[in-house]
């Protein structure tokens, strides 16, 4: 079988697209903006991956899952972890934000430079259940490194907010 580089990269992308985030299983790592690219490097397929948080325990699992996915089509394919530029919530796809909402997680907003928003102070995070803006932050640190813990003052439900970073 003689595939062009373009076809090989295309095929690898299809594989990588099937890999899900173990901590947000309804999202793929592509939707999370963690796949920085697929290219041919010295004749081998190379997938570049950027972790979300420095200490995110899911990074190793994701990297292994992505490697297994591409090696299923090309056994000598490799995965490289790229730390620079640092991952930002701005890279999360819009489709993922909609899915977060339906799963009860308030998605991050664009514009991570907004410092007030970074810490959840003075910025409105609408409740993903009832839609009200009448919510408050319980803690900037939630069940995983990427989420903050919020509470809704209308429907009284707790919910998570995917932090801007």
């Amino acid at each position: 079988m003689n595939l062009t580089d373009h076809e090989r990269i295309d095929r690898a992308w299809r594989q990588v697209r099937g890999v899900h985030d173990p901590e947000l299983p309804f999202l793929t790592v592509e939707e999370m903006g963690m796949i920085r690219g697929v290219r041919i490097h010295e004749k081998h397929l190379l997938v570049s991956l950027t972790p979300t948080y420095s200490g995110c325990p899911a990074t190793d699992v994701i990297s292994e899952d992505v490697l297994a996915a591409v090696q299923a089509v090309e056994p000598d394919a490799q995965v490289e972890v790229v730390l620079s530029p640092a991952w930002t919530t701005d890279w999360i796809l819009d489709s993922a934000k909609e899915k977060m909402r339906t799963h009860g997680i308030a998605p991050p907003e664009k514009g991570q430079a907004d410092r007030a928003f970074l810490t959840g102070k003075g910025k409105v995070v609408p409740c993903p259940r009832c839609g009200t803006d009448n919510t408050h932050m319980v803690s900037a640190f939630g069940s995983t490194a990427c989420k903050a813990h919020f509470s809704c003052k209308e429907c009284l439900e707790p919910f998570e907010h995917f932090k801007c970073i």
Binding site: S54, G55, L83, S84, P85, S139, F141, G142, S143
Partner: protein, 252 residues
């Protein structure tokens, strides 16, 4: 000590993050409230993650095949070059938060510089990520200091005592030695006097809001960066390193 000041600088950054991360992780399951248990554990996770990235980079730069576990688990106390501040015991929650606030203020300014420097692009990438994380750490610790300092008479007195006890470990953060000097000359590291001004402004604002007073005229402790530590570090390392040293080839 490592002969190459560049690698030594990377190790110092990594050692600070690892030792403080290890200290904070001891709160897991012991936080005063559930949210705080989660918060402190998350901060510990960020720091250990930063340490891992920095050790890995130091290993690459050295080129002798040392990975992050080799640096973390197979060096002795005299080979660690973290600041004395981060190895100080957790004490009560107020002690931990004062230590954290004093360090976060420094860490934030430090990472801000490292993310911008052009000498080591890989380090800049790690620092850019860490800078964002440390912003959250700083917000968390500084808000606790205000809450405790401006809280009840008892909470105020307790954190004022914590501050009095820990302040003498802050001088070392800004004492330049030959490794820092080499880093500053090459553009890798910030000028510590400039960092100190920014740190002091940040910390003073927080203390003012908290109605706390920084002690004056204290003797400043030093030695951590040169491997001369308080005895607390040896106990910490003994606990942290015992498993990999007992079973050096163990894997998960």
């Amino acid at each position: 000590m490592h002969a190459d000041p560049h690698i030594q600088s990377l190790l110092r950054l990594a050692d600070d993050a690892l030792i403080l991360g290890q200290r904070l992780s001891a709160w897991c399951g012991h936080g005063p409230i559930l949210e705080e248990d989660i918060a402190v554990s998350n901060i510990a996770l960020d720091l250990v993650g930063q340490a891992r990235n920095l050790y890995a980079l130091a290993g690459q730069r050295e080129g002798a095949g040392r990975d992050e576990d080799q640096w973390a688990f197979f060096r002795t106390d005299r080979e660690f070059q973290n600041h004395l501040l981060v190895e100080q015991p957790n004490g009560h929650f107020g002690d931990t938060m004062v230590r954290q606030m004093l360090y976060d203020a420094f860490h934030l300014e430090q990472m801000g510089f490292l993310a911008q420097q052009k000498v080591d692009e890989d380090l800049a990438g790690i620092a850019a990520k860490a800078f964002k994380e440390v912003q959250y750490h700083w917000e968390h610790s500084s808000q606790w200091i205000v809450r405790l300092g401006d809280g009840t008479e008892e909470s105020h007195d307790k954190v004022q005592q914590s501050l009095n006890a820990l302040w003498s470990f802050t001088g070392e953060l800004f004492m330049e030695d030959e490794v820092d000097q080499a880093g500053r000359m090459s553009g890798l590291l910030p000028e510590l006097a400039i960092l100190q001004t920014a740190w002091l402004t940040r910390v003073s604002d927080c203390l003012k809001e908290a109605h706390l007073t920084a002690p004056e005229g204290l003797w400043m402790q030093r030695g951590g960066k040169q491997g001369l530590h308080s005895e607390h570090l040896s106990y910490l390392l003994a606990e942290m390193q015992t498993l990999p040293r007992t079973y050096p080839d163990a894997v998960w």
